[in-house]
């Protein structure tokens, strides 16, 4: 793997020496997840428009930190102007990112903030806490007075509590009106309405098993928070097996096309949609601006990152919660 990276670096540096054209790197967690596929599409389209050479790299699986380090080294060797990275290991990648910045490369974290967040020059991401808050508010408003007696299942990402999973979970609880305890950690809440937390790995199988386990603990569950839409689809299969699919509210986050279609079909009540294509195209624009005259991207006022926006997609709008329709969500979906 490493040898391959070095070989690729050599080829790239030879290719780059002759041309003065600007170049950028895109490093994603994997090149198979539709979210990153869309991100790559957005970056490629914008790069082509601005005449920037784009090289894309990805880990083989989510969590493949080494390939990402090799990719940064390759980009430094190739003399790229900027790097867009969705880090697998947000803390461990920092020294490699620092090397790139020391080499005068603009580094922008896409989707996933680094730890600390200012380890990158800028972060273009969804406000995951807000994404969770929107579905929490929607669920509470949809239940009305019944929200006081809700029985809530929390389907989270992983036991290691990665930041994206914690932010969405805690945002949902805040939106629903539940005391958070430590906002940097899920599972420490004492509200009796929460039946339990389970992890799903963000896929269908994990979603189904997690939902089965929680339903065994309390078959009366009527609100299900899910980390993402594949987990929601799995949870729905479990509910269907229990004959409970029609009287449970499922909410989720992501806005992928199958997920939005599931909102249309009534599988998911509402989902918070994020915009990977926008993240990537704005990132390429920022690199172009930096390469032209050294302009650094600015954060959204009041936030530590540039907020690429989030919208609640549902066809059952609730009072006081802003949302877009399924049709609009379909136009903007990814995957």
């Amino acid at each position: 793997m490493k040898a391959f990276g070095i070989a690729a670096g050599l080829v790239l540096s030879f290719g780059a020496t002759g041309a003065l054209a600007q170049s950028a790197c895109l490093i994603t967690k994997t090149d198979t997840n539709p979210f990153f596929v869309k991100m790559k599409e957005g970056a490629e389209a914008k790069a082509a428009e601005l005449g920037i050479t784009l090289n894309s790299y990805a880990g083989r699986i989510d969590g493949d930190h080494e390939s990402q380090v090799a990719a940064i080294e390759t980009c430094i060797a190739a003399g790229a102007d900027g790097i867009l990275i969705t880090a697998s290991d947000t803390a461990a990648i920092v020294p490699a990112v620092q090397q790139a910045r020391d080499a005068g490369i603009l580094v922008i974290a896409l989707d996933t903030p680094l730890e600390p967040i200012d380890a990158a020059d800028a972060t273009f991401a969804t406000d995951n806490f807000l994404a969770g808050e929107l579905i929490g508010q929607w669920a509470a408003a949809t239940l009305g007075d019944e929200a006081a007696n809700a029985k809530i299942a929390m389907l989270d990402l992983a036991v290691s509590q990665p930041s994206v999973g914690v932010l969405r979970d805690q945002g949902f609880l805040q939106g629903f009106g539940i005391d958070l305890g430590d906002p940097n950690r899920w599972g420490d809440e004492t509200d009796p309405r929460i039946v339990g937390n389970e992890v799903t790995a963000g896929n269908e199988e994990g979603g189904r098993t997690a939902m089965e386990n929680l339903l065994t603990q309390d078959p009366e569950i009527n609100v299900v928070y899910t980390i993402n839409e594949p987990a929601a689809a799995g949870a729905y299969e479990a509910l269907r097996a229990f004959g409970r699919q029609d009287d449970v509210l499922i909410v989720s986050v992501d806005g992928g096309c199958p997920g939005v279609q599931n909102v249309a079909d009534g599988v998911i009540g509402a989902t918070s949609q994020q915009y990977p294509l926008l993240m990537a195209s704005l990132g390429i624009e920022a690199i172009a601006a930096y390469a032209a005259d050294g302009t650094l991207p600015e954060n959204t006022p009041g936030k530590e990152f540039f907020d690429t926006g989030v919208a609640l997609v549902t066809d059952q709008p609730a009072d006081g919660v802003e949302s877009i329709s399924v049709e609009e969500g379909m136009d903007l979906c990814w995957g």
């Binding site: 198979t32 997840n33 539709p34 596929v37 699986i61 036991v159 339990g196 389970e198 992890v199 896929n203 269908e204 199988e205 189904r208 098993t209 089965e212 386990n213 065994t216 603990q217 594949p230 689809a233 799995g234 729905y236 299969e237 269907r240 097996a241 199958p258 279609q261 599931n262 079909d265 599988v267 995957g335």
Partner: protein, 357 residues
């Protein structure tokens, strides 16, 4: 297991008379430890069965009716179905002293082929399912040829095949999920194994039933047919097997092809379980299947163990996962306990080998 001490009794003869599950017999009567040891050796699935029963009873006492109900107990069966089927494929290969790291990938690719052939090319779902099985068998055949004819180590062959099949899966599917609703509407056959029978509070999915039938069927084949004895013989000592007339290469290839076919079945069951066809499903099925096999008392060195043990091993993992979660334990404890079980299982295996040699 009865033991005799009479000096005139010829133990070799009694071994021949008895059931062919008796892979060896012992001089007994020298104390309870020998009796237990003899029993464990001749019944390799006994240790995991005892652990399984003990863990069910323990969780039944600790958690009460939420765990010890027909519903929860059959839920374990449902949750274990996919791994139990993949574990069957893994068992066959491990009995030949091999290992198959590509089982999970073959399972996922087969399910993706079933889904995409039905939806992308509009083939009738029956044909699409058959194509999935064909792909599974082909992957197994390639593994088998490389192991048996090219004489490459199974670990290396299937390590490579794992990556190749998984990459092919992602490239071919473009990581596109086919949604449950579309499958239910246009190709419900793909969700066949999600159908269920309810008896009282117990819920049996066709997937869970398929797993049990498959394991029982393979148990019969492994213990009662010549092919089954050849599989054990190859795992024990391939050269000796060859000398005694076993067609080692043919048998090895047939084991890998069968393993591929069983993985395709697992892929079909997986679609029934998760509803949709997802190229990212089952990423750790290879490790989980090896876990079930090891806890089930099947020797990684080949030639020893019963496929029933694998089923019990898988169920132990399922019981621990559900039981600990119902007690509200952090999921990490499940992994910790499973880790302890794996090491304990290998230790018991070594102990039995050591005392019997």
């Amino acid at each position: 297991m009865t033991e005799t001490t009479g000096p005139s009794r010829d133990d070799y003869e009694s071994g021949l008379e008895g059931s062919s599950t008796d892979v060896a017999s012992f001089e007994g009567g020298r104390g309870p430890l020998y009796r237990i040891h003899g029993f464990l050796h001749s019944t390799p699935s006994a240790v995991p069965l005892i652990v399984l029963v003990a863990s069910v009873l323990t969780f039944g006492l600790l958690v009460g009716e939420r765990f010890f109900s027909p519903f929860a107990l059959t839920l374990v069966l449902q949750q274990v179905a996919v791994i139990g089927i993949v574990g069957s494929a893994q068992t066959l290969v491990i009995l030949t002293a091999g290992i198959d790291l590509s089982v999970g990938a073959i399972m996922v690719l087969s399910s993706v082929v079933m889904g995409q052939f039905a939806f992308r090319y509009g083939l009738p779902p029956e044909i699409a399912v058959l194509c999935g099985f064909a792909v599974g068998a082909l992957c197994g055949f390639i593994n088998g040829v490389l192991v048996a004819i090219m004489r490459l180590p199974p670990f290396i062959v299937t390590l490579g095949m794992w990556q190749i099949v998984l990459a092919a899966n992602f490239l071919y599917s473009a990581n596109e999920t086919i949604r449950s609703q579309e499958i239910a509407e246009q190709a419900p056959l793909l969700q066949f194994f999600g159908e269920r029978i309810e008896i009282g509070g117990a819920v049996f999915t066709y997937g869970a039933i398929a797993m049990v039938l498959l394991v029982l069927g393979l148990h019969y084949v492994l213990t009662q047919t010549a092919w089954g004895r050849h599989v054990y013989a190859i795992g024990d000592d391939p050269d000796a097997a060859e000398l005694s007339g076993v067609r080692v290469k043919h048998t090895l290839i047939s084991v890998y092809v069968l393993s591929g076919l069983i993985c395709a079945l697992a892929g079909w069951v997986l679609v029934g379980r998760i509803g949709s066809v997802s190229p990212t499903a089952g990423q750790f099925a290879n490790i989980e299947s090896i876990t079930a096999v090891v806890i089930g008392g099947i020797s990684l060195f080949g030639g020893r163990g019963s496929i029933l043990g694998m089923l019990f091993g898988g169920l132990i993992v399922g019981v621990f996962s559900l039981g600990l979660r119902l007690m509200g334990t952090d999921p990490q404890w499940t992994y910790l306990m499973i880790g302890v079980l794996i090491i304990a299982a290998v230790a018991v295996d070594q102990w039995i080998r050591k005392v019997s040699s």
